[in-house]
Subunit: 234 residues, 2 copies
């Protein structure tokens, strides 16, 4: 016998997922569920609140709860950590910082990140290599106002992304994924044909509203893909 909370939740989810209760269908009131399961209102309230937090139902005072309209479809994709992937696959991984400088942010980047033009940023270009095959080219800006210790960090053991993740664990993030044809410079760096399709992942993160970093990571299209699994209910 499972917990009542879970049983009620499973029952309702099953009815929604099976289509028995389609989007827009009114869910029994809390006092009805309370009578049906012979429990207190707090218990059904917590179940329904959880379902609402997960986007499965919509609740409105006085009107009751209804099955939510299907949300915008979304894809959740895992962003690969090269070192971990390499360890798992038993291959050798290394990275090389091709360029490092401190520069005032330009107008376009300021626009994207919401910073003032001219703010000092640490700019890094990094090549990720596994078994001597280039896997990705990364261009990154780090806000020295938010992460001042990046200024003196040599990035010997960990690449900038991994190093940052350990210092700024929880953030808001914005992602853009595009496909581009490799130009000559990029093709040479990634050892691919000029014009080959590449996947570009742009990731910008903020910590409690303060801009942290922007990364543009370019993967050869024939070697990489982004993968993700997703369930709407937790």
């Amino acid at each position: 016998m499972k917990h009542l909370h879970q049983r009620i939740r499973d029952d309702i989810e099953a009815r929604i997922m099976s289509g028995e209760w389609p989007p827009g269908h009114r869910i029994p009131f809390e006092h009805e569920l309370m009578a049906e399961y012979g429990c207190s209102r707090m218990t059904v309230n917590k179940v329904l609140s959880t379902l609402a937090a997960n986007g499965l139902i919509t609740r409105r005072r006085r009107a009751g709860s209804v099955v939510a309209q299907p949300s915008n479809q979304q894809a959740v994709l895992q962003i690969q950590d090269f070192a971990r992937e390499a360890a798992r696959a038993g291959t050798e991984y290394r990275f090389k910082i091709l360029r490092r400088s401190i520069e005032p942010i330009d107008a376009a980047a300021a626009q994207r990140t919401g910073m003032r033009v001219g703010t000092k940023m640490l700019s890094l270009s990094t090549l990720h290599v596994m078994d001597d095959v280039p896997q990705a080219f990364e261009q990154r800006l780090i806000n020295l106002a938010t992460v001042p210790e990046a200024d003196t960090e040599p990035f010997k053991d960990d690449p900038p992304g991994t190093w940052l993740l350990r210092r700024v664990p929880w953030t808001d993030a914005e992602h853009i994924v595009r496909a581009v044809n490799a130009d000559g410079t990029l093709a040479r760096r990634l050892q691919i044909q000029t014009g080959a399709a590449c996947l570009v992942l742009e990731r910008r993160t903020w910590q409690a509203g303060a801009f942290v970093t922007e990364a543009r990571i370019t993967y050869p299209g024939d070697r990489h893909q982004l993968v993700g699994r997703f369930s709407p209910v937790a």
Copy 2:
């Protein structure tokens, strides 16, 4: 004055996000928070349970709660609904079903979807067009065992993806994003240059374990990108 629940939650989140409580740091016990905020244990319990459900903290009986280790980085991307986008942008949208057939599933697709080889699937090729400019080419398989009514559906008003979303609202999904160079056929369909980089989104969905549909949507790389915003806390 906000609700106490929200205030406690904001306080704890702020301390985690600012780095004051790094990953692994022990969070005050429920009875400590209870004393600090002068409220009942149920209130702080609900806050901490919510934070745990969102992956921000880890809870263990007797040991207490600690700030969770940073999760694998992930990107959440919105998948565009053409009709809605067109309505919002004030442009004209239409779609054209180029090919429609019922076929037994081939070995490769059976492998991907976990179906038995030979299962009958509805196969559709659809072109999405906005203001006479091709926006995406979609190849889709629909499992007729799970969605039998697709067999007789003419897909007059809604494209297959939208039609399905209304019938099978909540599912598990798997996504793959790749970059490819357009071959001659694809280039002609999308009115782009042969070899131009394209973004390919593969999406497979299941309903309570039963395979529903697989879609491979190809977007011209110079016209489209996937965008997403993500906060670890809801």
